[in-house]
């Protein structure tokens, strides 16, 4: 079933993008309904990219409607990500350090502008291929690579700033 194939992928993208579970759930539901409605008109080989395009556009619409942008990662999501993470790390102190770094990373990711944010999520977190990302965002493949590198660099600069602020 189509919903089963894409539910987690869309939800993951939406939640890392929006950082609010309620909004991510709404986006996911809308995308699944559109998928049911329109999938017959989409080339099956490009359906994945189509789904991500719809998800990204839906996230952009949500962000536009918000009064303020760049919300802190919601508590429920922190718990969810932490639950996935701390179960693997045996050393408690290291776990805390990495968890703190991860929180900083997620906050910096949230503050990244689109399309850099979407491309970083799709490539680094969701392991999408370059051509699939290019298809989803309707931009040339070389532009995807350039934007990915730029997005990573912006993240590094943002994280350096955050870490320096934390230390001062």
């Amino acid at each position: 079933m189509l919903a089963e194939r894409y539910r987690d992928r869309v939800y993951t993208f939406a939640l890392y993008n929006l950082q609010r579970p309620e909004e991510a759930e709404d986006v996911t539901q809308d995308v699944l309904i559109k998928l049911w409605k329109h999938h017959e008109g989409v080339d099956p080989e490009r359906l994945g990219a189509w789904v991500m395009r719809v998800a990204r556009n839906a996230c952009i619409d949500v962000v536009r409607k918000r009064q303020t942008y760049g919300a802190v990662f919601a508590r429920e999501v922190e718990v969810e990500v932490a639950a996935n993470f701390t179960a693997v790390e045996p050393d408690a102190e290291k776990s805390v350090e990495r968890l703190e770094f991860r929180k900083e990373l997620e906050d910096a990711l949230a503050e990244l502008e689109d399309p850099f944010r979407s491309i970083v999520i799709m490539r680094e977190i969701q392991d999408m291929k370059y051509n699939e990302i290019a298809d989803a965002l309707e931009i040339p493949l070389n532009t995807v690579k350039v934007y990915l590198h730029r997005g990573r660099r912006m993240l590094r600069d943002a994280l350096k700033g955050r870490i320096q602020n934390d230390l001062s």
């Binding site: 539901q29 680094e124 977190i125």
Partner: protein, 212 residues
């Protein structure tokens, strides 16, 4: 640090991600490796870039809650599926706003058509108006019992079809047609009802003479 060193550091910073993706050609790859061996800051930048990619790729895939999928399935199951059902849904949505006045016109037309059928049937049987207390034992008393249910249903159906045409042309030309046609129909209905009442009256067409 010389300006040349600064330039080289800027070059490395701009190419470190391409290096990590193995997208640099051999010459540029060697250039970057050589510089990061010599420059501690660029070496740290390269390591930080590597760590960042590693951390990003370690972020978990998240599970979509089941209630989200259930809600989507519920929304999908209440939607019309086939072309005919989509057409019906579109017509229903459009007619919803016209329902009240439409129902009023339909009721009037159904009553008028029903009365017309009754009178017409009576005249077809007797050939003249009914006269109360007539001694003509052959006169057939026309009542609703003499009009079949099927005839009434056919009359109602014809009225519905007529009104559907009104709405069809209303959609094409707007409310003006509805008002105009509705007015004409209502006028015709009023005339038909008035005529039917007169003809059904025990005084028939002599009512004017009776009043004189």
């Amino acid at each position: 640090m010389t300006s040349r060193d600064r330039h080289e550091c800027e070059w490395v910073a701009a190419h470190v991600d391409a290096f990590l993706e193995e997208e640099l050609d051999t010459v540029d790859r060697h250039r970057l490796e050589a510089h990061t061996r010599a420059c501690a800051d660029c070496r740290a930048e390269l390591e930080f870039a590597r760590q960042l990619v590693s951390e990003l790729r370690a972020l978990p895939q998240l599970d979509c809650p089941d209630h989200v999928v259930s809600a989507a399935e519920r929304a999908i199951s209440t939607r019309p599926r086939g072309a005919w059902e989509r057409l019906r849904a579109a017509v229903d949505a459009h007619l919803a706003g016209l329902m009240r006045p439409a129902m009023a016109v339909i009721v009037i037309m159904v009553v008028a058509v029903g009365v017309f059928v009754l009178v017409h049937h009576d005249r077809a049987v007797n050939g003249h108006s009914r006269v109360a207390g007539s001694a003509d034992t052959n006169a057939t008393q026309v009542t609703l019992e003499n009009v079949s249910e099927e005839e009434l249903q056919m009359a109602a159906r014809d009225a519905m079809i007529a009104f559907a045409y009104v709405n069809k042309y209303t959609r094409r030309t707007g409310q003006i047609v509805k008002a105009e046609v509705g007015g004409r129909v209502a006028g015709s209905v009023r005339k038909a009802m008035a005529k039917a009442i007169v003809e059904a009256s025990p005084f028939g067409d002599d009512s004017k003479e009776a009043g004189q």
